[in-house]
Symmetry: C2
Subunit: 410 residues, 2 copies
């Protein structure tokens, strides 16, 4: 934890720290686990920090962009446009045009509406655009938390409509259907459930192949690999995955219709989430009605998810440490942020080594859906900066505009 405290003292707080050495380690774990069965597709939405993207780029098969600005961010990070996929349920005409002009490798088509729109734009530009069709499965294994499948959804063609819709999409002019994409569930910590889901994907991919007669060049498996957020939660036992998943992939690719197929494993959270921390400093303290209140310089403006405001049904304390007093006698605290609203709570009744003014606290599991997913402008407090640890060294990774904005505020 020493580099974290050093980072806070050097760069100030609030501060996001991303350990790129750890991210690279996790990337190499994936190739150890799955060999060449999967290329890795990183979902930029998890964390679009430019320094992070540039560091990841060489080790990936593709970047998955969920907005046109993310397409540009991918290319800016050094990724050839052909290795960028563009997904998302609300691609505007200008965005599709932009992506086609930029030369993205694959447009992920989410609906008939969108296929038609993409076809007419590609035709207008006189190009054939490679597409993947996203599919929304009927089944999602239990033990998945938040889900994007099985119910009505804005994402992809519903599995039960494939026979009707896939031929229509395949036959749209100027679209070249080269494969399929499924991302139906996120943040799962149970290897068996993930494997069960991959078996569902494989069956659907076979059905889609038969319906269309297309020999897929690309299949995207949305990983659903989860990470622990709460103290005491076990990490996903990734060592258990190959025995469960590899046979499913080998069996699928054994078919003649799949002998040109390259599979991608799409993930974001698992790769970068555990490699990030938000650091915040205690600004004020108060004993209020039997509760020790510590008010910090980061609240839900800096980390919406850690404050339980990003899809959590029940608010639970994340994994905090007191970096300034790691081993002292403990007390119980209410940790709040700096915002003038009673909903700005980082942790309730949390046990930590004595927390005093100026102490630096860390919030783990903050590498994904932290900085970029938070309402940083709310009440105009100074925005967090971002730094990376690379080869053990700290380096500023705050995008220039954000850095200037941060310094303008104070």
């Amino acid at each position: 934890m020493a580099p974290l405290l050093e980072a806070a003292n050097t760069f100030g707080t609030p501060l996001y720290v991303y350990n790129l050495d750890m991210v690279q380690k996790r990337l190499s774990i994936l190739s150890d686990l799955f060999g060449n069965r999967f290329g890795i597709s990183y979902a930029i939405k998890a964390n679009p920090n430019p320094t992070l993207l540039a560091a990841l780029q060489a080790g990936l098969s593709t970047f998955d962009a969920s907005s046109f600005a993310e397409v540009i961010a991918a290319i800016d990070a050094g990724m050839p446009a052909k290795q960028v996929t563009f997904s998302g349920p609300a691609k505007r005409e200008a965005e599709i045009k932009g992506a086609i002009v930029a030369g993205v490798g694959e447009l992920v088509v989410e609906s008939l509406t969108e296929a038609k729109r993409a076809s007419s734009i590609a035709k207008e530009r006189g190009v054939n655009q490679n597409i993947l069709v996203r599919i929304n499965p009927l089944k999602l294994p239990r033990k998945f938390g938040a889900s994007m499948g099985a119910t009505a959804s804005q994402f992809g063609i519903d599995e039960e409509d494939l026979a009707r819709d896939l031929p229509i999409i395949r036959d749209y002019p100027n679209l070249n259907l080269i494969g399929f994409h499924i991302y139906s569930g996120t943040n799962c910590l149970v290897p068996e459930a993930i494997a069960e889901n991959f078996a569902i994907f494989a069956d659907i991919f076979r059905a889609a192949q038969e319906i269309t007669g297309v020999k897929p060049k690309r299949l995207v498996f949305g990983s659903g690999f989860g990470i622990p957020y709460l103290p005491g939660e076990d990490a996903l036992d990734h060592a258990a995955l190959p025995a469960l998943i590899n046979p499913i992939i080998d069996d699928l690719l054994d078919g003649e219709a799949f002998n040109e197929t390259k599979c991608n494993l799409e993930l974001g959270r698992w790769l970068v989430g555990p490699a990030g921390w938000l650091l915040t400093r205690v600004i004020s303290e108060k004993h209020s009605r039997g509760v020790e209140v510590r008010t910090c310089d980061a609240g839900f403006n800096a980390h919406l998810a850690a404050c339980g405001m990003m899809g959590s049904v029940i608010r639970r304390n994340w994994d905090f440490e007191n970096l300034s007093n790691a081993k002292g006698q403990t007390g119980r605290y209410m940790l709040t942020g700096p915002l003038c609203t009673s909903i700005d709570r980082l942790a309730m009744d949390i046990e930590l080594p004595k927390v005093s003014i100026a102490d630096v606290l860390s919030i783990a599991s903050s590498g994904a859906y932290g900085y970029s997913a938070s309402p940083r402008g709310f009440i105009s407090h100074p925005e967090p900066r971002e730094v990376v640890i690379e080869n053990g060294q700290l380096r500023d990774a705050t995008p220039p505009l954000a850095r200037i904005a941060a310094e303008l505020v104070l």
Copy 2:
């Protein structure tokens, strides 16, 4: 609704529209209701749009700023620094220094910690700083929703600690205690509960006066005036307030100790909330498993609160209209935003006149805690612009940096 549709067509979507004529009307309602009993203090955190602040400024007693950047925004809007109060539970040393140098009228002190910090900064600068002490009441009437009082809190000195703490704060060098501040509950729609709360405030102010011997020059009454968010909810019957509230104020000010007192009514939401709309356009449509899904260009990135992600326990649909088809036959829809996550939902099973691609939908009650409280950078979709209606005319009110950023994205 015609100017709203015109605004969407002229400035594009997503778009926040603030009707300044309506805000001015609401401001004049307050002076009709309470005469000169109250000056009005606008809490910038509700909506810090610079054009809005500039328009409001002349009709206010003070701006209440909850961060140093909001102090600057107040001054930039043309308000004399002496008419700015600076509140917030986590004022850093640099912020207090900044506010003292800027010459804010009143620093709202939230804790002993902060009083001590402010005293030493004021001493260092060789000035006497006027302060108000914020008080956290023991009681909050039922019928208040979200509350900032009655429980353990980061805000203010607890009522039961006043006798111990107020003399300490009063006697800190270079601080000039001129009054008190209470904001214990927000968004109440019941006049009797608001009046009951004001009676509690009055009792506490009397007690604080007796403890300190200070003849208050300023008392701030946090209004708690609520607005309806859900279809069918009744607005606060403000016409019922004078009969309930004015006698409480008159009685308080009748005492000799209060004959130099000016009262301020602090509010944000009630003034600007009903005068704002978020406009969003339908980008895609899909029939999924019996549900008509419409995917819009605004999601929780553009309006966190409307998506039920800002402190709501139960997610309910806000008040939507289809501006492009106001009176057609209705259907039931799931409205989603553009984000690649299943939690991005604007409305579930909502009944609206037929909703088609390119239709513009409005979300009412969006003038407060909308634009500035939302994670606009998440997945890097184009940020909403902001426009105002003034004297019936539309005018761009997007701050220049945000406008440039919006155009850079696409």
